[in-house]
Symmetry: C2
Amino acid sequence: MAAWLDAAEVPHVVVREPGGTPLGEVIRDLVLKRTDLDVGPASELLMMLAARAALVRDVVGPALEAGKLVLADRFALSTLAYQAYGRGLDPARVHPALDIATGGLRPDLYVVLDLPLREAAERRHRGRGRPDRFESEGEAFRHKVRDAYLALAQDEPGVELLDAQGTPEEVHARICGLLAARLPAFVPAASGGPGRRERDDG
Amino acid sequence: MAAWLDAAEVPHVVVREPGGTPLGEVIRDLVLKRTDLDVGPASELLMMLAARAALVRDVVGPALEAGKLVLADRFALSTLAYQAYGRGLDPARVHPALDIATGGLRPDLYVVLDLPLREAAERRHRGRGRPDRFESEGEAFRHKVRDAYLALAQDEPGVELLDAQGTPEEVHARICGLLAARLPAFVPAASGGPGRRERDDG
């Protein structure tokens, strides 16, 4: 997506969560990698939110103020799916804490890439090294998180569920189409991709 | 206080915040000592709460279940004084986040040791090494935090403001008297101290 936005000359910033700031990367290491540390559900939530607060303050906020599109690998929806529904924390308490971290900022669009659990497991086994804290969880947790995303896609505004089966090129084309349809002010029309727009502009 | 409870054979646990668990001590280091890291108000709050959530789950909860008295050097009241009022975060958002960390647990008694700012500064300069993140703040921040404590002592239930001027022995005697008056089920009568109770019992 970033390469596509680059080619289309859409000013943008790419961030990942947790992380993206000096504090956030320390927290990323603690929450994802330090599987020797016993981190309970509430601590996990609050650490993720502390990282997000730094990211919003230091990176996302300034980028938006500069008129850039922000492409984030996870945001508040993942907190609801993993920490509220997955870990069993009360969403009524999680929402105000989310607002502390984001200052009330909401994405224009969430794209949820949906995959049957079996295929997701195959991709995980092919592509990754040592599993992180969430990847180390069992099937029951994965089911809960996927069910949560499917429910959130129905209930929360601005969430699009996208079929992530197929080749990377096929999924990429689906995302481009969705972004162009949903964010026309930011993203060029997808038919033909950003190259087409450059030709049009040129 | 711990020595006094020991002598009185009151089963108890002493904790300090942030810290007291492996995760909490990592966070203590991040929040208090790593003054090179840029930690914003929201991240500071959420990290403190992440440490507290671990402390409540792993130390305070089990101690209370075992019928022990828990003596904590700081708890939720300090979060309200420092992070809400001191840093300017909305208390209406901070309260639900506090509840995530504590699971709704509230102390039977908060003892706020009150000291004029000038005398507090003298004690700090005598007793301490390198100042931590909060000790590095200026006078304006200290004023805000003290005013917050004074207001919270009026508004929040279970808060006792105690004059901390005088010798350590004088302040100790004041705290003993307060605990014995307010928590008679846990703490022996203060007149004569715990030694008196041992004599009575024996």
